[in-house]
């Protein structure tokens, strides 16, 4: 679907140093959006044609309100595209393609473990919401650079969900010092006798982190879904710009399109070696 999304909220999120933004767009995308899907957004007002940047930006959907026809996008300003996007004002209309891709799946019952690295937390919030509505038990493992980051990137709204939070920071300023996988491993170790089949994990974050989470899950026989990221061209599966390498059931390496077949894949099918 190609729509004009009207900017209804566009604000800085937390500490300005973190360069995080919250963008709420009004439009019909919310009616069909699922957690883990994304939109391809034109960063400049679509009434002015500009070719730098040329392409749309893929941004994961961080909030879905179908009653109000609103989706929330959370992003970090880290390049020319997001620099320009950050200038959009309330009332502006932005051209949005979406919802795109395949999102996370949920088990019918049991426990859902969310594992996030940095801003990989953003697409997990609507997933937590849906899982809780369905009556699943949810817990979050979230690692970030420091306290300022976690607080800026929405820690209070996670606390409001009333689920167990296992936080870690690289500098130890909040939660445990170290990587997010450390805490997950500890708990898996403790609960491994009882666990196994009833835990499902969903991970989003840097590639190395998702690879580590996948390996960890494999060791404890926990099924995990990961949300991959790649430079995208068309965002609909036509240009083959954003392929990832998977290994199929027969052990053959295949390519899938992150934009159309993903961005969410089963962790165990992903080939993490970058030379593929």
């Amino acid at each position: 679907m190609l729509t004009e999304g009207q900017v209804v909220v566009h604000e800085s999120l937390g500490d300005e140093e973190q360069r995080l933004r919250r963008l709420v767009l009004k439009g019909p995308i919310a009616r069909t959006a699922q957690a883990g899907q994304f939109v391809a957004i034109q960063v400049q007002d679509s009434s002015i044609s500009s070719f730098d940047p040329l392409l749309r930006r893929p941004i994961s959907i961080a909030g879905i309100s179908s009653e109000r026809d609103e989706i929330t996008l959370l992003y970090r300003i880290q390049g020319r595209g997001t620099e320009i996007l950050a200038r959009a004002k309330c009332g502006d209309k932005l051209s949005v393609m979406g919802p795109l891709g395949k999102g996370f799946s949920l088990p019918e019952k049991g426990e859902l473990w969310l594992v996030a690295g940095g801003i990989g937390i953003f697409p997990l919030y609507p997933l937590a919401h849906r899982a809780l509505t369905q009556g699943l038990t949810v817990r979050l493992f979230w690692g970030g650079e420091n306290k300022s980051f976690l607080e800026s990137a929405g820690l209070s709204s996670w606390k409001a969900l009333g689920i167990p939070l296992h936080l870690s920071t690289l500098d130890g300023s909040l939660g445990q010092k170290g990587l997010v996988t450390g805490q997950a491993q500890e708990l898996l170790e403790k609960s491994s006798a009882a666990s196994g089949g009833h835990i499902r994990a969903a991970a989003c974050g840097p590639k190395k982190m998702m690879q580590a989470v996948t390996e960890l899950c494999k060791n404890y026989k926990v099924s995990v879904e990961v949300s991959l990221e790649e430079r995208m061209g068309c965002a609909v599966g036509a240009c083959l710009g954003c392929v990832c390498t998977l290994i199929d059931e027969a052990g053959v390496l295949i390519h899938k399109k992150v934009c159309q077949d993903g961005p969410v894949f089963r962790g165990e099918e992903v080939v993490w070696d970058e030379s593929c």
Partner: protein, 306 residues
């Protein structure tokens, strides 16, 4: 005012209008259907195929540049057998003309592909990619040497009853010489232009952005080069031209037609605006109406009058 006649005929190909989509930017025709109804297009040029399946290049395959996009996909495709089995039946159901695009690493590759693709496969034409810059020992060799280009087109022509379109590389000194060579080889039409070879270096990481180092540049950045080449070839060679290279608006499309393109093809422009083909068609139609032209074909080469 009577409506403008949009139908476009050339080289035994009949299109309902002059708007095509470029190979490699439109998949096998279904990917964009939710955004741009295929029946509104003159035709779709399919993703290039090779005899055997190819995984293509590693990622990153894309790099943005000002008004441009570098790509190094490396001809990822399911291969001929899988194309015939799984993709062609769907292509045949597309409510628009479909042009297959073939690539090879040897003359035999092209012969094999051309032999398998005939009029009875329901295709409108065969576009021969002799200009892919993204694979080692790839089509590029055929696209930069006139003698090889002539041979490969002649070989394809001998194998298929479909109209043959030669897609030329702009990475040559003399585009007219290349056009003449493929004409001698028996090409029925030309696609001008493929991407320009380029690269982009990440100054923070101090290494090329693309895993393949080099890539093909497309997008508005290359449009003036493409228009110039269409202009030159139109003057010198009597073959219909499909103009492409950075078309994003109807004004761009009109420019190509005035330079000598009989039809135009939208590639990277689809990524920016998936409804670009529809808007471009409407814009061309309005332009013709305003100028009192009865047929869109009347635009072709009009800028050469003076």
């Amino acid at each position: 005012m009577s409506p403008v006649n949009l139908s476009t005929q050339f080289a035994g190909i009949t299109l309902r209008n002059p708007i095509l989509t470029c190979s490699g930017t439109y998949g096998f025709g279904e990917e964009y259907a939710a955004y741009c109804p295929p029946e509104a297009l003159g035709g779709i040029t399919l993703k290039g195929i090779t005899p055997l399946p190819r995984l293509g290049n590693p990622v990153p395959r894309l790099a943005e540049t000002p008004a441009g996009l570098l790509n190094a996909v490396g001809l990822e495709n399911p291969g001929l057998e899988e194309f015939l089995k799984s993709y062609l039946p769907k292509v045949q159901k597309l409510p628009t003309a479909a042009i297959a695009n073939i690539s090879g690493f040897s003359l035999e590759d092209y012969v094999l592909l051309a032999r398998a693709l005939q009029k009875d496969s329901g295709l409108a034409a065969l576009e021969v990619n002799i200009s892919c810059p993204n694979v080692k020992h790839g089509g590029m060799h055929f696209g930069t040497d006139p003698q090889s280009a002539q041979e490969v087109i002649a070989a394809v022509k001998a194998e298929t009853d479909l109209p043959v379109i030669a897609k030329l590389s702009p990475n040559v000194t003399d585009i007219v010489g290349m056009a003449r060579a493929v004409q001698l080889g028996g090409a029925d039409a030309l696609s001008l232009i493929n991407t320009l070879l380029g690269m982009h270096i990440d100054i923070n990481q101090q290494r090329p952005v693309l895993a393949n180092t080099f890539g093909g540049l497309s997008g508005p950045a290359i449009r003036p080069v493409a228009v110039r080449m269409v202009w030159q070839v139109f003057q010198a060679v009597d073959l219909p031209i499909i103009g492409m290279g950075g078309i994003t608006t109807w004004q761009d499309a009109v420019e190509f037609m005035l330079a000598g393109a009989t039809a135009v093809s939208i590639g990277t422009g689809n990524f920016i605006n998936p409804q670009a083909p529809l808007e471009i068609l409407q814009g061309i139609q309005d332009y013709c109406e305003k100028r009192g032209l009865a047929s869109v074909h009347d635009l072709v080469g009009l800028a050469h009058r003076a």
